[in-house]
């Protein structure tokens, strides 16, 4: 009986119902989109940083991350290579040998990271090849060819075809020196990376540094990078105890923390929005209910208890909130899904925020059903909570008081 009464009330006062529906539906949509956009931009930041060079996971000797000197190198890279080759969860992997050297053009010497990479394997593991802006990317047969970051090339005052001298330390700590010709120049957009990194074919660099069968670490991608924690833990169990498998969450922990802080601030701002929404709904419901005071008084006079009245009004809002929950979720989720596939392009954002690791003008939304579900339920609960006070207030009036209420 209460349900049909509530339904009748909703259908009879169309204007009131539509406004309530619109208010909660729009709030649901807005909240879902806001969170999808925030998560999407965070994912984009991390994805850029991970995919440009770091990679989804590394295998290194325990202690290497604290002291990346020559004392913590993988001394038997072939052994790790074999383990990785036989691991079906790994999509692609490659060893890297990283060292700090002095690079010198004609005039100036600059301290830089020099990494020996397997050029063909890196195509799938990093964005090094995609970031080429001049000359050519490295090949597996290159010898004295070097691939330089654009800002490093500027600092050294060199261009494609220029000769540069490299002085570093071999792994036996004798001096390693060689001359290289700039084969290509890349620009990833990460300023620090572009101004301090140079790459050489690993098989050649190994002859200069005496690092044959030695690697600083292996970088790898899993088939299922979304379940990275589980994948990393499984991989760890197949490694000899002196090695560790770490994923991007650890490798880029500073960035992950920065994103977390940003999310917290995001939620703080959205909670202010919640407070506003809560009061808007409450005031709106309050006004609505009090305009129906005479009607409610009449119902009480006809024999309905205050409990019945509470039930009727609560059912009304429950029905409206459920409809807006469903409609809002469908629309919000569709928008999030669409913009995940077709990211919003904000031209100039990469240029403005390049030092924060933004390398693309595209900002996708993040479509995640769990997040969408809790977002929608939060607004639903907010709707319900906002109605409790007005209902309980009107229920305190007696039938006569309510009927005389102006």
């Amino acid at each position: 009986m209460l349900f049909s009464l509530a339904l009748k009330n909703i259908l009879r006062s169309k204007g009131r119902s539509i406004i309530t529906l619109l208010l909660s539906t729009l709030t649901t949509i807005l909240f879902i989109i806001y969170v999808a956009f925030m998560d999407g931009s965070h994912h984009q930041f991390i994805k850029s940083s991970v995919e440009i060079y770091t990679g989804y996971a590394h295998i290194d000797l325990k202690g290497y991350r604290d002291d990346s000197g020559y004392e913590n190198l993988i001394e038997d890279a072939d052994r790790i290579d074999k383990i990785l080759k036989n691991d079906s969860s790994i999509k692609e992997y490659a060893p890297r040998f990283e060292t700090y050297v002095l690079l010198s053009g004609d005039e100036k010497a600059v301290g830089s990271l020099l990494a020996g990479i397997v050029p063909s394997a890196e195509k799938a593991l990093s964005k090094l090849q995609d970031s080429l802006i001049k000359g050519e990317y490295l090949s597996d047969r290159d010898t004295n060819a070097i691939y330089l970051g654009s800002d490093l090339a500027k600092r050294l005052k060199v261009d494609v075809g220029s000769e540069i001298a490299m002085v570093g330390s071999s792994i036996d700590y004798s001096i390693a020196a060689d001359l290289f010709t700039v084969k290509g120049i890349f620009k990833t957009g990460l300023f620090e990376f572009d101004s301090q990194s140079a790459f050489v074919n690993k098989s050649y660099l190994d002859t200069v540094m005496m690092s044959d069968n030695i690697a600083s670490y292996f970088t790898l991608n899993f088939h299922d990078n979304d379940r990275i924690d589980k994948m990393t833990a499984t991989l760890q169990s197949s490694l000899p105890s002196e090695y560790e498998a770490v994923n991007w969450k650890t490798l880029l922990s500073a960035l992950v923390q920065a994103m977390l802080v940003d999310s917290i601030f995001g939620y703080i701002s959205i909670s202010i929005f919640f407070v506003v929404i809560f009061f808007v709904i409450m005031i709106f419901s309050y006004v609505n209910i009090y305009t129906r005071a005479r009607e409610i008084g009449l119902l009480r006079a006809l024999g309905l208890t205050s409990k019945n009245i509470f039930g009727m009004l609560f059912t009304e809002i429950l029905l409206l909130a459920t409809v807006s929950l469903v409609v809002g979720t469908i629309i919000g989720a569709s928008i999030a899904y669409y913009y995940e596939l077709h990211p919003i392009v904000i031209s100039g954002i990469a240029e403005t925020y390049k030092e924060y690791g933004v390398v693309s003008d595209e900002v996708p939304m993040h479509f995640d059903l769990f997040t969408i579900a809790w977002n929608a339920l939060t607004i639903f609960m907010l709707n319900i909570a906002a109605i409790i006070y007005p209902i309980s207030k009107i229920n305190r009036l007696t039938a006569m008081e309510a009927m005389r209420y102006v």
Binding site: E71, L102, A109, S170, Y173, S174, A177, L179
Partner: protein, 243 residues
């Protein structure tokens, strides 16, 4: 009370003067106008042991020229230090490279010394304020705190001195947070001309990751008396004397 206080101040100032005099004497003994030396540097690390043979020429505290004699792979590599700047010549690529400031804290030739150690004309007397901590017979312990305007990387140095020979026995280096970071010990004192010199120096970093590391320098020949031609202290010398 006043009397006691002034007595204390006088004693303190006498102590600090005494400490400063010890450092002065020490530096005078160790430093000559010119110095020629050949030495062996033994670097021990987790990766094993490595010996480098070095020939060096220096003038005062701010000009020096170093040539690597051994291992064969590094033979002929030369270093020139003038004031706070350092250049390096590598015969294999026939290039002279100036070591930039950003690389100054990198290890020198894989040893526990940094490029900065090689370059800094750290004069204990000029850069530090000395305080006598203890004195017993011929040995004393001093605390050296950097002067406000001194460009040094250490928070303080504790130095044990052999007063009779005016040579250091042990130097403990602290960083700016007063954490012990490395210890240098000196031994095998020999007379060379008017100078008494510790012929063996050993540097040991105290970092937990470098437990096995140490760098030992053993002087083989040392000569304070011969004047060194000024041509050694020019950039041309890097290539010229590399052979």
């Amino acid at each position: 009370m006043k009397y006691l206080l002034s007595l204390l101040l006088i004693t303190l100032s006498l102590y600090s003067n005494e400490a400063q005099n010890i450092i002065k004497k020490l530096e005078k003994n160790l430093r000559g106008d010119y110095m020629y030396a050949t030495m062996k540097m033994i670097v021990t690390s987790k990766r094993g042991k490595r010996t480098v043979k070095i020939e060096s020429w220096s003038k005062g505290n701010d000009k020096s020229f170093i040539k690597i004699l051994y291992p064969k792979k590094d033979k002929g590599i030369t270093f020139l230090k003038i004031d706070n700047q350092m250049w390096q010549y590598i015969p294999k690529i026939e290039r002279t490279i100036k070591i930039p400031a950003s690389m100054m804290l990198q290890s020198w030739m894989g040893s526990d010394f940094t490029n900065d150690d090689m370059v800094k004309e750290s004069s204990l007397e000029e850069d530090y304020r000395a305080k006598l901590l203890s004195k017993k017979g011929n040995s004393a312990t001093l605390e050296l705190i950097p002067r406000e305007d001194a460009a040094v990387v250490w928070g303080k140095i504790i130095i044990d001195v052999d007063l009779k020979n005016a040579v250091p026995i042990k130097q403990t280096y602290y960083d700016d947070r007063m954490k012990k970071v490395r210890v240098m010990t000196y031994s095998k004192i020999e007379q060379h001309g008017t100078h008494r010199i510790p012929m063996v120096m050993e540097l040991k970093p105290l970092d937990a990751n470098k437990k096995k590391n140490r760098t030992k320098i053993i002087f083989e020949k040392i000569n304070y008396d011969a004047k060194i031609d000024s041509s050694y202290f020019t950039k041309h010398a890097l290539k010229r004397y590399s052979r």
